[in-house]
């Protein structure tokens, strides 16, 4: 229990962060250059943290598995970024953004963290505009806003359907500037394979040079993990092919607690699955629901093509069930509603696993040009993939795994249970509770990187006297030999099945048993099946090539091996959480109207798992969540 100190500062919620900043210890400017900080991952969280720390004067090293820092998967975020600017004069405030986020997360996040997120949100927009991020603007030259799910104000800033790209390129430009100044060294095509702890502190990493195959050691005074989420445990997801849980999982095995892995976000609007060869799913931004209306035929047997079905025969089920929010209900609600209609047989598409997202009315009211200006690239992408023109026929969409709210446990300072190991962005668990609202992931990644970690990491360095160590330390020797052993093992199995075939098999189990709806029997079954797949993997996987070269099969093998362990923890966590909340829906716990039923008495806590060895059951710790500012109610969007 003792390790789970949230370290939330005292005082009224609106003053906590300011007070805390006043109390954090500082590192003098001329001393900052004596410290070395390792940042793993160069997405929004990693790039913004590395650039900001470099600007402050620290020596920073960044690592990414892609061939350039600019390609991290934050780049694919489409719709926007929230900020409590209240530019549209529609009643927004830091308090409202805070409240919406806590409510949207189904009251399973830590109040103080969320408040801080809302508080710094406005600074993020200022920072990005100063960097030259080309946000959408009105004719008067000021910034434009749009609405996202779970909110009744327009607080989302955007750059067409490519907001993530523009924000990431902004952070990347700040990072490149520091590289140019010599404050940051960027190591591309490097994959972190393990963490090195010395005297209980995170002091280094072992990475594999993905071109030469050599293992490399890097030492630091702090390690920042900015490695994203674990959505690819499901094989098919909207994540990039390379997204993985390995860095976080290795830290878990070295003593960091893993929090709420069962909180996964299934995004309601993705292009449906087609074919066994499919390698990934493509998101259609939530922003489309601003103008698109979701429907299915009213009659189960209606097999007419959508344009032939008159208004009277269409069921706009989100507008019907949730009149107050309509098509803009949060993602978990929209996804479950789509699943419910399809389960009842109303689904469209050959598979019956799709619903319509229709722009007919919006195009009639606003004209095709206006719709094109807002969503042009998304419509283009949809057409590329499906060969259908969404300006003429409604899109077909279905939910898909998109984001993961769980992650490594961190305190208010974003420090994990390993001193010196900080976890930022999607990789941590802290701000979104059991469901993330749209346009909040970009906000959190940049808040953590630009405005939180630069303060709290400095405090850690100033308040702990860290011994000078180098890469000849026996701890590096030990960890590196373990990593090498694992690589040798992969290559020596020489079985008959490809890495991908195991990944697909795992993904099916995860989707069927730990997807949008879960129950005890299914979760028990999942645990058993995953153990079986894992066992076979270690007997029968075939990894071609050698370890001393660019070897993508070997890279995948390491990631899939970790997903095969992680998937079991996810199922265990889902089994232990005997309630429904946000993205975690247990069929045993629902209201008569099929809405999620929380159990605040027994489950208003964070579950944080402690590793106990490969053959032992991990320990489930709890951090109680105290809601002093927001009253817990049943989440209603009706």
């Amino acid at each position: 229990m003792s390790l789970l100190q949230s370290n939330v500062p005292e005082g009224p919620i609106a003053e906590k962060w300011t007070r805390h900043k006043n109390e954090l210890k500082l590192v003098a400017p001329n001393n900052k250059r004596k410290y070395e900080i390792l940042v793993i991952g160069t997405g929004l969280a990693g790039a913004s943290a590395a650039a900001s720390l470099g600007e402050l004067g620290y020596n920073v090293k960044t690592f990414c598995y892609q061939d350039s820092a600019r390609r991290a998967h934050s780049i694919a975020a489409q719709g926007g970024i929230n900020a409590a600017k209240n530019y549209p004069n529609d009643g927004d405030s830091v308090w409202r953004l805070f409240y919406d986020t806590v409510k949207g997360g189904d009251y399973r996040s830590r109040e103080a963290n969320v408040y801080r997120l809302a508080e710094v949100s406005a600074n993020i927009i200022d920072q990005c505009v100063a960097q030259g991020v080309p946000f959408a603007r009105e004719y008067g030259g000021l910034l434009a806003n749009r609405t996202f799910g779970g909110a009744q104000v327009s607080r989302t800033f955007y750059a067409r359907g490519q907001t993530g790209q523009q924000l990431l390129l902004g952070a990347y430009s700040a990072l490149m500037r520091q590289v140019n100044k010599g404050k940051v060294q960027n190591f591309a095509r490097r994959e972190m394979l393990d963490l090195v702890n010395i005297d209980g502190n995170a002091r280094g990493v072992i990475v594999r040079n993905m071109v030469s195959g050599k293992l490399e050691r890097y030492v630091g005074d702090a390690v920042l993990l900015c490695t994203g989420g674990y959505g690819n445990a499901y094989y098919l997801s909207t994540n990039a092919m390379g997204c993985n849980v390995t860095a976080a999982w290795r830290c878990y095995k070295r003593g960091a607690y893993y929090a709420n892995p069962c909180y996964t976000q299934i995004h309601p609007t993705c292009i449906p699955v087609s074919g066994d060869y499919q390698s990934k799913l493509t998101l259609m931004s939530e922003s489309l629901r601003n103008d698109g209306r979701v429907w299915v035929p009213k009659d189960v047997n209606d097999k007419r093509s959508p344009e032939q079905i008159p208004e009277a025969d269409r069921d706009y089920y989100l507008e019907r069930r949730y009149p107050a929010f309509g098509n803009m209900v949060p993602r978990d609600v929209a996804s479950r509603a789509a699943k419910e209609r399809c389960d009842e047989g109303y689904g469209v598409n050959e598979s019956g696993r799709a619903v319509y997202l229709d722009f007919k009315r919006a195009i009639a009211e606003q004209g095709q040009k206006a719709i094109e200006a807002k969503y042009g690239n998304l419509f283009h992408m949809y057409r590329k993939i499906t060969n259908e023109n969404p300006y003429e026929v409604p899109m077909k969409i279905y939910p898909a795994v998109h984001y993961t709210m769980g992650g490594l446990w961190v305190d208010y300072n974003l420090q994990s249970t390993i001193p010196g190991l900080y976890v930022l962005g999607e990789a941590n668990f802290s701000d979104h509770g059991a469901n993330r609202l749209g346009a909040s992931a970009l906000m959190q990644g940049l808040a953590d990187g630009y405005f939180v970690a630069p303060y709290t990491v400095g405090h850690h360095l100033a308040s702990n006297k860290l011994e000078k160590v180098d890469t000849n330390n026996p701890a590096f020797e030990q960890v590196e030999s373990e990593v090498q052993g694992r690589i040798d093992k992969f290559l020596s199995i020489k079985g008959s099945r490809s890495v991908d075939s195991f990944h697909r098999e795992l993904g099916l189990v995860m989707w069927d048993n730990c997807g949008m709806a879960r129950n005890a029997a299914g979760l028990h079954e999942a645990i058993e099946k995953i153990q079986g797949i894992r066992w076979e993997f270690w007997q029968n996987v075939r990894v071609t090539g050698s370890g001393h070269q660019l070897n993508m099969e070997l890279e995948k093998a390491g990631r899939v091996a970790d997903f095969l362990e992680f998937g079991e923890l996810l199922a265990r966590d889902a089994l232990a959480r005997e309630e429904s909340c946000g993205g975690h829906f247990r069929e045993e716990h629902q209201t008569p109207e099929n809405e999620a039923r929380r159990d605040d008495e027994n489950f208003a806590h964070v579950a944080a798992w402690e590793y106990q060895g490969d053959d032992a059951t991990p320990i489930r710790h709890q951090e109680e969540l105290n809601f002093e500012n927001v009253k817990l109610t049943q989440r209603s969007y009706k």
Binding site: G132, N180, R542
Partner: protein
């Protein structure tokens, strides 16, 4: 459909590469081009051969990882489309498909279809930024940008950094890539204070990396999956010309 693939295979930077031919029956028209390569790789693994290495990540056309010449065209036959978004319905039964890595001295081949594009990062390091530290920013709406400029800046900023422009150019010029970034900042007030040093340094770095000169054939624009316009190259030339005449930087 049945396809005959001719794919460039090369073990590493030092060794010589060559085309190898593979027959692939049962290609579905609904597959993406990279999914077709996945299927080939599964087949190669089952035969205990090394799969074809290629860069890819997001598979939705935005990360800029995928990079291959398909029948002599960067990213293949579909306009404004990355290889990952190219679908097999663009091909027909019995087709021969030639697949090669980007060809440019500044992009050395690392393995098979994988090339080293770090030269692009170094060009960006030379000046593709606004020198503003975290925490210094004024209120976002204190900077007013005419919508038309903001939209043009956005259009330029959508470059995904894939390198198709270089691969498509007979001179392996990186002008479209560099011009996109120079334009973004040149069109925005935030970029104004450093506009001269930026363009001078980025162009100098581009030359140093060994990219060729621009001879205005516009093949880059045709190949660009993000639809970056060659108007940006004209703007780059203007910016560069003005900067060389008036910059106080030595």
């Amino acid at each position: 459909m049945k396809l005959t693939l001719h794919i460039w295979r090369q073990s590493n930077k030092e060794t010589k590469g060559e085309f190898k031919t593979y027959e692939l029956p049962d290609v579905s028209e609904h597959m993406s081009f990279l999914e077709m390569l996945d299927v080939l790789n599964e087949k190669l693994i089952s035969q205990n051969e090394e799969p074809v290495a290629f860069d890819h990540d997001c598979r939705e056309g935005i990360c800029g990882s995928c990079s291959m010449m398909i029948n002599g065209q960067a990213h293949g036959p579909d306009l404004k489309t990355t290889a990952c978004q190219l679908h097999m319905r663009k091909f027909k039964d019995g087709d021969d498909v030639w697949i090669e890595p980007w060809r440019a001295d500044a992009f050395p081949v690392l393995k098979d279809l994988v090339v080293d594009r770090s030269a692009f990062d170094r060009i960006m390091q030379a000046g593709a930024f606004v020198s503003v530290n975290t925490g210094n920013a004024p209120d976002a709406n204190s900077t007013i940008v005419p919508k038309m400029n903001a939209d043009l800046a956005f259009d330029a900023a959508t470059c995904i950094g894939c390198g198709a422009c270089v691969a498509a150019c007979k001179n392996a010029s990186a002008m479209l890539f560099v011009s996109a970034k120079v334009s973004q900042y040149a069109l925005l007030p935030q970029g104004d204070p450093e506009r001269k040093t930026r363009v001078l340094r980025m162009v100098a770095q581009m030359d140093k990396e060994g990219f060729g000169g621009c001879s205005n054939t516009n093949e880059c624009e045709a190949a660009c999956p993000a639809g970056i316009s060659v108007n940006n190259i004209a703007r780059l030339n203007r910016e560069y010309f003005k900067a060389t005449l008036t910059s106080r930087e030595s």
